[in-house]
Amino acid sequence: MKDNILLEVKNLKKYFYLRSGFFFQRSSGIVKAVDGINFYIRKGETFGLVGESGCGKSTTARVILRLIAPTGGEAMYNNTDLFKLNRTQMFKTRREIQIIFQDPYASLSPRMTIGDIISEPLEIHKIDDKKRRIEKVKNLLEVVGLNPEHINRYPHEFSGGQRQRVGVARALALTPKLLLCDEPVSALDVSVQAQILNLLSGLQKEFNLTYLFIAHDLSVVKHVSDRVGVMYLGKLVEVAKSSDLYKKPLHPYTMGLLSAIPIPDPKLERKRKRIVLEGDVPSPIDPPSGCRFHPRCPNAKDICSNKEPELKNYSGDKDEHLAACFFAGKPI
């Protein structure tokens, strides 16, 4: 069942400590951005993480790459714990794990040509001499569908979609095995979004890549992912095969989320009954007791506010379908 695993995240935690006061800083609260999540990604598959803003999905990606330090837990990459590696070891491992950022406007330096941007990872890791690097960059530009002759242009000369292609090329420069895609298409228009999604899935096949795909748009995540994890306030509430998640969601939050997304099909929408979740996402500084979703949950009982439900498998066959709910599967 759990064979061929490339990355396994165990009990991952990231807390941010808030401080107030200027001279005598006191701790004024803890933001539990990611609070004990477990998931794994098989080689060559795409694992999607969805959730609304502030649920901790981007933090998860950043902690895995150790762009920010983890508070606790393990991230087993090819059977080594990324969190236990020292600086040089981590530096080396980062060659295999790369990230694509959300905003193609902010993630490319405006003062560097796209050639410099894409070859920078190669320079940092001292791969090839200058001449061969240029060859490589030109090759990469072609792979992501840009004109290699534009190697000396600056980011502002490109459109949003083209910039995101540059971001993809930069991530591919070191021929990584695992690509963390942090909202790679949410800043783009639909027609361009589709181009980038196609590019990513093409590259996956071509280079045998494994993706962690993070997005707030469930329909995008469902389209690209083999399996999907749904996050709410720093916790994973449901993990399932992407088609199962849509067909038979078990967690009430997933049900609400699915129902909230309008489908671009007017006839269907007229028939569809909508469940609108009430209230706002609570603050992660002082999350609700027990199940974090209970204040918004139409199914909540006493037990939900007292005890925290664990992720349990509800599937009979070989594909796991995990949900963290005492009344999993009960319609809302």
Binding site: S191, L257, P262, D265, E269, V276, L277
Partner: protein
């Protein structure tokens, strides 16, 4: 429907921005009409001119760079573009009001919520401060904010994004306008909050019997709420019809391409999406002829000569494409 229930009529609207780099034709010949009580959707990608269309209706185009250079906007028999400043102020926020995209920046951070709602009530309904306060409280309750009395003295930063958008809606409906323009009202919000806000707008529409212009890039939202849809591309309308025609019988290649580009929640994982090739043109340097021709799979010689006019290809279905007739009669094989 008869033609005399047109509440608003926009005719050949042209709004240009004059910049150092050249003239940006943000809106270039938009025409549509809005019926009483209907929800009209305007869809398009970034830079297609949907927001500028909305701002033009309220004459809120930033000066001096922007200017409405042509067209008519007829509301209740009067041309908005010819109104003097005083009558414009009387009608803005009163007969037609607007909900903006970003609730974080469209509320004033230094005034209380109550103050900001009361402002428009006092201005247009000439109420006393006390009755305006009562009115503001009722409005807050109407948009689903609990403990309205207490909330009147809160500042915008004390509200979440969804709540702020509710406040914006309260301000917009304060004078029961005939037309509510919602410019990407939920783009900045999370999905579950988006559903709440859209349901609220729809509910209020039925209560007050106002018309809505819903501007969005989300084809799902349009499918759910709009009755008629105008698709815009690079400042021009390309297709305009009943929502079902747009989704199931689209005739313009751009609309068809858009529909093929979206990921759908209710579909099995598909192989590949079929995106439109290339990216939208710069509005300064538009191609001659049809603006979509460079990205189009069906372009013919004619397309590079002159922009195709918007024609009513069948009743209530307008398309700006030379090949729409062939497309409708299935004489061309759809490539997407």
């Amino acid at each position: 429907m008869s033609t005399n229930n047109k509440l608003l009529e926009v005719k050949d609207l042209k709004t240009y921005f004059f910049t150092d780099y050249g003239t940006v034709k943000a809106v270039d010949g938009v025409s549509f009409s809005l019926k009483k009580g209907e929800t009209l959707g305007i869809v398009g990608e970034t830079g297609s001119g949907k927001s500028v269309t909305a701002l033009s209706i309220l004459r809120l185009i930033p000066k001096p760079s922007g200017k409405i250079v042509g067209g008519k906007i007829i509301f209740n028999g009067k041309n908005i573009l010819e109104m003097d400043l005083k009558s414009l102020q009387n009608f803005r926020g009163n007969r037609i009001s607007m909900i903006f995209q970003d609730p974080m920046t469209s509320l004033n951070p230094v005034f209380t919520i109550g103050n900001q709602i009361m402002e428009s009530v006092i201005l247009h309904q000439r109420l006393s401060k006390k009755s305006a306060k009562n009115e503001a409280m009722k409005l807050l309750e109407l948009v689903g904010i609990s403990e309205a009395r207490k909330r009147l003295s809160s500042y915008p930063h004390e509200f979440s994004g969804g709540m702020r958008q509710r406040v914006m809606i309260a301000m917009a409906i304060a004078n029961t306008p005939d037309i509510l323009i919602a410019d990407e009202p939920t783009t900045a919000l999370d999905v579950t909050i988006q559903a709440q806000i859209l349901e609220l707008i729809d509910e209020l529409k039925h209560k007050t019997n106002s018309s809505i212009i819903l501007i969005t890039h989300d084809l799902g939202v349009v499918a759910k709420y709009a009755r008629r849809v105008m698709v815009m591309y690079a400042g021009k309308p390309v297709e305009f019809s009943e929502v079902d025609n747009i989704y199931y019988k689209a005739l313009h290649p751009y609309t068809m391409g858009l529909m093929n580009s979206i990921t759908r929640l209710d579909e099995e994982r598909r192989g590949k999406l079929k995106p439109i090739k290339g990216s939208p043109p710069s509005l300064i340097d538009l191609p001659k002829g049809c603006i979509f021709r460079n990205r189009c799979n069906y372009s013919i010689d004619k397309c590079s000569k002159r922009y195709p006019p918007m024609v009513e290809i069948k009743k209530g279905h307008f398309v700006a494409c030379y090949r729409s007739e062939e497309m409708m009669e299935n004489k061309i094989v759809r490539k997407n």
